[in-house]
């Protein structure tokens, strides 16, 4: 059998690059979060460790590594450790199908800046993201603490409720694109308008659901500090806690990348094909464009967090089931009607 070694090397390099990128972005999201919080509240934020506090994530990580590791006696030991590991693993897995850029041509080889261009990319993401809640549920349950348990119950019901509306809003998008592959979706937007123009309502629904899926304010009920003493990670310490917090930031990064890819043209940017530049340069510029879009979304996540107070639990459920899902269904029907009208 003839194995294409270059292909394997290329993919390994790409996977390592994407992993390092998501971890690095997640690290600096913690810094960004504190900075954004600070400037919104007229404070300065971290500014002691390094220039503008840029070494702060390293200091935080170092601190978490050297903290005492506590596993409560009455917890379920295996599941207690599995919880944060699963959260982290699942958060890192999602990045595989996101197209980070177009193809680079290196020495006559076409290198795609996407780890796996599978034709069910969106389904894969949905499957993996749904698994993400298991990390929270297992951790909260295995801690043998009533607050953690309450938090994991909240997390489970919240994610189930909002995944429904998220899926429905995506179906409307998929009816337009006719493809589940993220690469195809981005390529379509490259040659016409961004999908947010066709699906503004769908985008807003998806955005709100993404906030809920990432357990971000105003939907951060599973980690409501003032109600639940910290939520599902109450019993966690040291790097196990770090993994939970980190997984949240990676999830944020991935949802930003997803939203940028599906609704805001991914790596495409206006006039990218009429500039007449070298294809490799265009690809790199496209990656930068995608990154700028992602950073804008990350800023939005943080901006919302420091503006909007948390929903009450019944309000959360009412918003999910009574408002988001009907609107998503109406959006789907309208999209369908519009497609029929265009065809007939």
């Amino acid at each position: 059998m003839n194995i294409d070694w270059f292909f394997i090397i290329e993919k390994i390099a790409l996977i390592s690059g994407v992993l390092a990128l998501s971890l690095g972005v997640a690290m600096y999201s913690t810094w960004g979060e504190r900075k954004v919080a600070a400037i919104i509240q007229d404070r300065r934020g971290p500014n002691r460790a390094g220039f503008m506090g840029l070494l702060q994530p390293l200091a935080d990580g170092g601190k978490l590594f050297f903290k005492e590791e506590i596993i409560p006696t009455l917890s379920h030991r295996f599941l207690f450790i599995l919880g944060p590991s699963l959260a982290m693993l699942v958060a890192c897995m999602t990045s595989a199908v996101i197209p980070w850029g177009d193809t680079l041509t290196i020495g006559g080889r076409q290198v795609s800046l996407q780890v796996a261009d599978i034709n069910i990319g969106i389904l894969y993401i949905f499957g993996v993201v749904s698994l993400g809640v298991y990390g929270i549920m297992l951790g909260g349950w295995a801690s043998n603490n009533k607050y953690s348990l309450l938090a994991s119950i909240r997390a489970a019901s919240q994610i189930i409720s909002y995944e429904l509306a998220m899926g429905l809003s995506l179906i409307a998008l998929l009816m337009l694109t006719g493809s589940l592959s993220l690469k195809d979706i981005v390529e379509q937007q490259r040659h016409s308008y961004w999908n947010v123009v066709y699906q503004p309502l769908g985008f807003i629904i998806f955005l709100i659901c993404a906030f809920a899926e990432c357990n971000r304010t105003p939907f951060d009920l599973p980690e409501a500090e003032n109600e639940l003493n910290g939520g599902y990670h109450l019993e966690y310490s040291s790097m196990k806690l770090g993994f939970y917090l980190f997984a949240e930031y990676i999830n944020m990064f991935i949802s930003s990348a997803l939203m940028a890819s599906m609704y805001f043209g991914g790596y495409s940017f206006p006039f990218m094909d009429s500039l007449g530049l070298d294809a490799n340069l265009i690809t790199i510029l496209g990656f930068v464009a995608l990154f700028i879009k992602i950073i804008c979304f990350l800023f939005l996540f943080m901006w919302v967090r420091w503006t909007i107070p948390r929903f009450r639990y019944d309000q959360l459920m009412r918003l999910g089931w009574n408002i988001m899902i009907p609107i998503a269904i109406v959006n789907m029907l309208l999209t369908g009607a519009w497609i029929l009208y265009k065809q007939g």
Partner: protein
């Protein structure tokens, strides 16, 4: 009912209309407010690098003064301790021996002089009471410490350095 002041604002208790029920205008308004704060002046003072300016009459830590020849002015009369409303000052007097004229200005001096900075209220009455211009309040404040003993300042902490030895 008659309002007690002219600043009464009636509370709007109408049920929310459709646009308000969407919450989106209110959310956008709130986000606008937080966004404006990005450009506002920071309230924080970068403490160790910059400090807030003190007023010219600020009263901080005490010093025990010396005269031009570097002799301690304090004669341990105890007026400062009497004047002190917080009873923060204690002292022990001693008689100046022959040959110590270069150290102490008067025939009697304070062998020990202690101010408990945890009791002190920095009113400055000790300085006002002092007939010898021996005690003054400066523009610094007591740094933090790990135990209470660290806040009892003795003569070593209070005396200003000898101007002649410099």
């Amino acid at each position: 009912m008659q309002a007690l002041t002219d600043r009464v604002k009636p509370v709007d208790r109408r049920p929310l209309n459709f646009v308000e029920k969407l919450y989106i205008p209110a959310i956008l308004k709130g986000m606008g407010i937080t966004f404006k704060h990005i450009f506002q002046k920071k309230a924080t003072v970068n403490y160790p690098e910059e400090t807030r300016p003190f007023s010219p009459v600020f009263r901080g830590l005490h010093i025990l003064n010396r005269d031009e020849e570097g002799r301690e002015r304090c004669t341990a009369c105890g007026l400062c301790a009497v004047a002190c409303p917080a009873e923060a000052i204690t002292m022990e007097a001693a008689e100046r021996k022959p040959g110590e004229e270069k150290l102490y200005r008067e025939e009697k001096y304070a062998a020990s002089y202690e101010i408990n900075m945890l009791r002190c209220i920095f009113c400055g009455f000790c300085g006002e009471a002092c007939p010898k211009d021996a005690i003054y309040l400066t523009e610094t404040f007591a740094p933090s410490n790990y135990d209470r003993k660290g806040f009892i300042y003795g003569k070593d902490d209070l005396l200003i350095p000898d101007p002649k030895k410099k």
